[in-house]
Symmetry: C2
Subunit: 96 residues, 2 copies
C-alpha cells in the first residue's frame, strides 16, 4: 500500500477550493481506487493523506484533467507552498 | 527516508499530555535523529508526521523509556484509538 502525503501552507481558500477538494476526494475514492482519504487543516497548515493500492493508481489520479486544473489553481491561488511525498507503507499497528 | 504516520482519535488531553508531546518531539529531534516533526489537531482528530533517515532511528525512539510510558498513557487516557504506519518515502516534489 502507498500513501500520498500532501502538506501545504494555505494562502487563501475560496468557494472553488471547497468544490474542487470535495470533487477530487470523490474522484479518488470512486474512480481511481483510493482506499482512504483524510485531510486536516490547522490554522494555515493543511495535511491530506490518501492511501492507494499501487503507484499506478496514484499516477492515473494525478494526471486526471480535473486534478491537473486543481494543481494549477493550487499553485496560483490557494497555496503559498506545498509538498507531495509518495511513500510505501511497510508496517502498521493500531490500538483501539 | 522514512515517515511515521501517527493518526489518532482523541479522548481527552490533559496537562501531562502537553508536557509529554513536547518532550517526545524534542527527544526525537535532538537525540534520535528525527529530521522533521509536524503534528496537527482538528476537532478530535490528530495527525503527527515524523521523518527519519532509517528504521533503526525509529526503533530506538519507539523503545525509549519516556516514549513507552507515553504510549501507555496514550492507550489508557489520551486516545480513543490510534494507528501508526511506517512508510518509506520514494519520491517527493514541492511547489513554492
Amino acid at each position: 500500500m502507498f500513501v500520498v502525503i500532501f502538506r501545504a501552507r494555505v494562502r487563501q481558500f475560496d468557494e472553488e477550493y471547497s468544490r474542487a477538494a470535495a470533487r477530487l476526494r470523490e474522484l479518488a475514492l470512486t474512480e481511481f481506487g483510493c482506499l482512504e482519504f483524510q485531510a486536516m487543516t490547522e490554522g494555515r497548515d493543511e495535511i491530506a493523506l490518501s492511501y492507494w493500492p499501487s503507484e499506478e493508481n496514484i499516477r492515473a489520479w494525478k494526471s486526471h484533467p480535473e486534478h491537473l486544473q486543481a494543481q494549477q489553481l493550487g499553485r496560483e491561488r490557494w497555496y503559498e507552498s506545498y509538498s507531495v511525498q509518495v511513500a510505501e507503507v511497510g508496517r502498521q499497528y493500531r490500538s483501539q
